[in-house]
Every structure is written in structure tokens, then in C-alpha cells.
């Protein structure tokens, strides 16, 4: 745990509401994705509320073996799993509807027939000079299946380790690889479409 994180948490323990609001707002989006992917969108906010209650009660005992972010994501995941059991909601990888098996970019021998084009831009910053593309990627990421979205946010946007994500989302390493690949590939296709047509 870093010194600045220790400082923040000690202020949280003494009841600093500004720090609390700051952390709540900062982690909300990721907590929502985790809660949504496990328990569903309808009760995600309730799960988050319960998770913060549990976390604040347990905070004085937090030993800092992991980062606060990782710790609170595990709490929200556990809360979501408890709620899922109560609501008897089942989620499985197989429930994801997509056309991966019959991807039209590949022929029957699984070789390219519709490869991506050459892109203008070699860095993310160059690619995202077009604000429309940025908005388009954000919009399309919101449409991804919940568990793909959560996996991508945790891994590519927040740098969680593969092990941490497997524990939090309760998926096997091979399932996580599938989720990440499909999510990234969707983003690649969105960028490619924009590069070809200039449209979202």
C-alpha cells in the first residue's frame, strides 16, 4: 500500500466525507461493472451500497496486503455473489450470444477473408485524435456483454492481474482469456470500421 493510499484510508477512518465521496465517485464505474456482471444491472446499485457498508465496517481491520481498490472490488464481488444466490440468477459464458463460431471475417478453414485495413495512426493518442472515434468506442464498449465489459475494464483500463480478475469474477483463466480476446477484438473492429468509413 502506498503512502498516499495509507493517508487517504486513515482520513476515511476518521470520517472524512470529502475523501469518502472522492473514492466513491472514483470507483463507482468499475464497481458497477463488477456488480452488473455478477448480479445483473437491476440490483447493481444496491450491491454497491451494501459493499460500501461492509467495507467501511471492515476498514479498521484492513491490513493493506492488497491495494484498497482490489480489496473493495473483492467486497463488491462477494456482495454480488450473495445477492445472485438469493435471487437465483445464473450467469454462464454460454449465455453470451455472439457470432464467434461463424465470424464472417474468416473462411471455413479459419483463414482471413476480410482482414482489417491499414490504420492511420500508430499510437492510441493518434487514433483518438478523432473525438467521434473515442465516443464510438465508449458507446460500443457499453454494449458488450456484462462480463466482457467488466473483464476489459479491470484488465486493460485498471491493470488488475489475471489472478485477481479470475477471483473477483469467478471465471477460469481460460474463460477470462476468451472474454478479454472477444472484448478487445470488438474494439478492434470498431476502430477498423471507423478507419474504413469515417463513421461509427
Amino acid at each position: 500500500m502506498s503512502q498516499s493510499e495509507k493517508e487517504l484510508l486513515s482520513r476515511l477512518i476518521v470520517g472524512d466525507e470529502i475523501v469518502f465521496e472522492q473514492l466513491f465517485t472514483q470507483y463507482y464505474s468499475l464497481m458497477f461493472s463488477v456488480a452488473q456482471s455478477i448480479a445483473g444491472q437491476a440490483i447493481a446499485d444496491e450491491v454497491i451500497q451494501e459493499a460500501w457498508i461492509s467495507a467501511m465496517k471492515a476498514l479498521p481491520k484492513f491490513e493493506g496486503r492488497s491495494s484498497f481498490k482490489s480489496w473493495i472490488m473483492r467486497i463488491v464481488a462477494n456482495e454480488a455473489k450473495t445477492r445472485r444466490r438469493k435471487e437465483s440468477r445464473t450467469v454462464s459464458l454460454e449465455s453470451i450470444q455472439d457470432n464467434w463460431a461463424s465470424d464472417p471475417r474468416f473462411n471455413e478453414k479459419s483463414h482471413w477473408v476480410e482482414p482489417s485495413s491499414n490504420w492511420n495512426g500508430d499510437t492510441p493518442e493518434e487514433l483518438l485524435e478523432a473525438q467521434e472515434l473515442k465516443d464510438c468506442i465508449a458507446k460500443n464498449m457499453q454494449r458488450l456483454p456484462d462480463n466482457q465489459k467488466a473483464a476489459l475494464k479491470m484488465r486493460d483500463a485498471n491493470g488488475f492481474s489475471m489472478d485477481e480478475i479470475c477471483n473477483i469474477l469467478e471465471v477460469t483463466p481460460s474463460n477470462l482469456r476468451v472474454l478479454l480476446h472477444r472484448g478487445r477484438d470488438q474494439v478492434l473492429q470498431v476502430i477498423d470500421h471507423f478507419q474504413k468509413t469515417g463513421e461509427c
Binding site: W112, P124, L128, I137, G183, D185
Partner: protein, 85 residues
Amino acid sequence: MLPTCKQATEQLSENIDHNIRGFKLFKLKLHLMMCRLCRRYDKQINLSAQTINLVEPSIKPSDSLKAKVLHDYRGIHQDSQNKHK
């Protein structure tokens, strides 16, 4: 047997998270040497993963949720102070 292009795309994404090794890596490299489309895909899937970091769509909490959670936080803090008195 060498991976197909579709299998290569999956392995290239896997390679972002942990380095593929051994014979599997050898076969993937051999495929990439022969396939410029998969070499392009390799570059683009890495670029896509980095781009996600910059465009992560951020959802904002509703004011009512914020108020509820803040209320809970005040209550927990109050309880803990009362216990210490």
C-alpha cells in the same frame, strides 16, 4: 500443425496477458512470418487494448445513491465513535 489465422488472433490476444512460450510460441512466430494479415492484427490488437485504457466509459452514480451511501458512511462513523466513548 501451425495455427490458423483465427487461432493466431486468439493467441495474439493471450500473449498480451502472459507471454506464450515453447513450441506454441514457435508455431505462432512461424505463422506470423508467413502471414502479413496476422502481423497487422498483432499490432492492432495491442493498440486496441491500449486504447481501451484511454476511453474507458465512465458511469456516474446517481445523486440519490450518493446520498444514501454517504448517509450510511456517517452512520457507521457515528456508531464507531459512540463505541469508543
